[in-house]
Point group: C2
Chain length 362, copies 2
C-alpha cells in the first residue's frame, strides 16, 4: 500500500506531464525502487551484522518510520537480523528525573566497555513525542560514552502511544543484538506504565533512587518495588553517605515484605556515586550474579519466552481493541451507551451486547 500523501505530492510535482506518461513513469520508478530497496535492505542488514553503527542507526530509523511504504522494508530487515539476535543481557534502568540516570549510565557503560563489553543504550520515553526532546536526545550528557567505539546511544523512539514506543524499542533491541552489542541498557523516566513496558523487555530491572529525608518508601510508585532486581541509591558521596546507608537499610527491609521472586533472586540494595565513579563495579557484580543464577536455574530462558508471549498477546489484543473501538458504528453508539449507563438505564453487560451486535451486523 502506497503512502497517500506521497502520491499526492508526486502528482502535483508532475503537473506538466501527460497522464499516461506520468503513470508509466511512476510504474517504472516503483519497480526500480522495489529492486533497489531489496538490494539496499540486504546491504543494510549486512552492514548491521558487521557492527556498523551508522547502518544500525539507519536501520532503527527505518523501524521507527510510520510511513506505510517502509513497513515491508522494516519487516525484511528484522527478518534478516532475527537469527543473530537474542544474545545480549538486557538491563532496564529507571529512576525519577534528578536521580542522576545519565551520569550513572555513562559510568556504568564506561565500566562495561572497559571490561570488553559492547554496550547499547536505548530509551523508552512516551513523553518524547510531546516534549520533542527525548531523555537520551541530549547526547552530550554522556560525553565519554558517546565517543566509545564499542558503545551505541540511541534516543527514545517517538510515538503517540506507549505501546508504539515500546514496540519500536523492542525491535531496536533485535537490531542492536544483531550488530553485536552484548549488553543493552534500556532507560526509562518512569512516566505512566513505561516501567512496566521496560520491565517486560529486559532481563534485569534496576531502580535508581536518592536518599531522602527518612521515610524513603513514601511516594514510591506502585508496583516498582516488586519489579526491581536491584535498588541502587545514587549520590552516596560526601555528606550524603550516611543518609544513603540509612535509605539502603530501609529499602532492604521493604524488599523483604514481598514474596520471593520466581527467579530465585533476592533483590539487592546498593549505594553508589556515579559522579565520583564510586561503587559502580558493585552494581555490575550484582548484575553478573543475577545472570549467573538465572542462567543456571533456567529462569533466564523462561522469562524471555514469557516476554515474547506477552508481547504477542499484547499486540493482538491492542489491535483487536483498536479495530473494535474505531469501527464506525461502534464509535457513534459508544457515547450513547455510556450515557445510558450513567443514567442507570442499562447494565454494562447489556451495553456491551448492543455494541458487539452493532459491530457484527455491519
Amino acid at each position: 500500500m502506497a503512502d497517500p500523501s506521497e502520491n499526492d505530492s508526486s502528482l502535483s510535482e508532475k503537473k506538466g506531464t501527460p497522464p499516461i506518461a506520468r503513470v508509466s513513469a511512476k510504474v517504472a520508478h516503483a519497480v526500480k525502487r522495489r529492486r533497489s530497496q531489496v538490494r539496499d535492505i540486504n546491504q543494510l542488514a549486512k552492514a548491521i551484522l558487521d557492527g556498523d553503527k551508522t547502518a544500525l542507526s539507519q536501520g532503527i530509523t527505518l523501524l521507527e518510520s510510520t510511513a506505510t511504504k517502509h513497513q515491508p522494508q522494516a519487516k525484511q530487515l528484522l527478518e534478516a537480523c532475527l537469527p543473530h539476535a537474542n544474545r545480549s543481557l538486557r538491563i532496564g534502568i529507571t529512576g525519577v528525573p534528578g536521580v542522576g540516570k545519565s551520569t550513572f549510565i555513562e559510568q556504568f557503560g564506561m565500566l562495561l566497555v572497559s571490561l570488553g563489553k559492547k554496550v547499547a543504550v536505548l530509551a523508552v520515553d512516551p513523553t518524547s513525542s510531546i516534549s520533542h526532546g527525548s531523555i537520551l536526545g541530549d547526547k552530550t550528557r554522556m560525553e565519554a560514552l558517546v565517543k566509545e567505539p564499542n558503545a551505541f546511544i540511541r534516543p527514545s523512539a517517538s510515538g503517540d502511544s506507549l505501546g508504539g514506543v515500546a514496540r519500536k524499542t523492542r525491535e531496536a533491541i533485535i537490531l542492536c543484538e544483531a550488530a553485536g552489542f552484548d549488553t543493552l541498557l534500556i532507560e526509562t523516566v518512569g512516566v505512566g506504565q513505561s516501567e512496566t513496558a521496560v520491565h517486560s523487555m529486559t532481563d534485569f530491572f534496576l531502580l535508581l533512587k536518592l536518599a531522602g529525608a527518612g521515610d524513603e518508601l513514601q511516594g514510591i510508585k506502585r508496583g516498582i518495588m516488586e519489579m526491581a532486581d536491584a535498588i541502587v541509591i545514587n549520590k552516596a558521596d560526601g555528606e550524603n553517605i550516611r543518609a544513603a546507608k540509612l535509605a539502603k537499610t530501609e529499602f532492604n527491609r521493604a524488599l523483604h515484605l514481598y514474596p520471593p521472586k520466581a527467579s530465585g533472586w533476592s533483590p539487592k540494595t546498593l549505594t553508589c556515586s556515579a559522579l565520583k565513579n564510586e561503587n559502580i563495579d558493585a552494581v555490575w557484580h550484582a548484575v553478573e550474579d543475577y545472570f549467573e543464577l538465572t542462567r543456571a536455574n533456567g529462569y533466564f530462558e523462561e522469562k524471555r519466552n514469557e516476554q515474547n508471549k506477552f508481547w504477542l498477546l499484547q499486540t493482538i489484543e491492542s489491535r483487536l481493541k483498536r479495530e473494535f473501538y474505531e469501527h464506525p458504528s461502534v464509535k457513534s453508539e459508544f457515547e450513547k451507551q455510556l450515557a445510558l449507563l450513567e443514567a442507570g438505564e442499562t447494565t454494562p453487560f447489556q451495553a456491551a451486547e448492543t455494541l458487539l451486535r452493532l459491530r457484527n451486523s455491519s
Copy 2:
C-alpha cells in the same frame, strides 16, 4: 435462539406424530410458552420489587442459568429491576480462610439489621465450581443472620471463570437492590483475582486479618493493601489483644507508605472480636464515615460510574479475545507461531500479524 439439546429431545419424544402436526404443535407450544414466560417474568419481577426473598432467590437462579433459553428471560428480569437498583451501600469483605469471615459477617450483619438495615450477603468464589462447595453454601455458619427477615444470604454463583462468576454476582446485586436490600456484603476468599473483581463492584473494601507473629505484612497478597479502605484485625480477644494491637500499628504504618486515595479517604485500621461481638460497631462507624465523606465529595457517584465503564470495557474485551482465540484458523496456527517464537524464528509482532491476517481472511 433455542437450546439445541432441548430441540433434539422434543423431536425424539414425538416420533409417532406426523411431521406437520409435530411442527404446528411445536409452534403453538412455543407461542404459549413465550406468553407464559412474559407473564411469569413480570410476576417474578413484581414479587422481587415487593421484597419477596423466595422470588429474589428464583430470580438470581435465573440469572445464573447457562441455558440459552433462559437468556431473554434473564434480560427481561434485569430490565424490570434496573430502575430500582443502584441504591445500596456495597461493601466488599475479604480475608484468608480461618480469619473468621463468616462469624464477622454474621455479627456485622446482625448489627446492621438491628440498626434497621436490610442486608444481603453475596459471595464471589471462583473455586466454588471446582469444590462443589461454595464459601456461603453452608448457611448454618450464619445461624442467626439466616433467620432474620431483613437478611438475605446467597452462596456464590458457580462458573468456569472468574469473569463469569463476577458477572453473575454483579447482576445479582441489581436484583438485591431492587428487592430493597440497602446494605450489601460481598464476600470473597481472595483466590486469584477475585479480590480485584469484588473491589470493582463495591464501594468500600474491607480486609480482615489476624494478628500473627510480628512481621504482619509478610506474605500479604500483592495489591490488596492498596485496595483496602479498612483493615480489621479479627480475633482481638483474650491473650490475642496485645498482638492484635501491635498488628494494627504495623498495618497503619504500612498504609502510610501508599499515596493518598482518590476518594480522599485515609484507610482505617481497627481491631475486633467477631466471636465475642466486640468492636463490631466501630467497623460500621468507619464504613459510615467513608460513605459520608465520599457522598459529600462526589467520589461515591464517580466510582460507580467508573465501575460501570470498567465492566462495559471488560465485557467487550473478553468477548473480543474469546472470539479471536477460538477462531478455528487462529486456533490451529497459534501453537505453531508460539513454537516459532520460542525458536527465535519470528518476532512477537510478526507472529501477531500472521494470526490477525488469518482471522481476517476467513
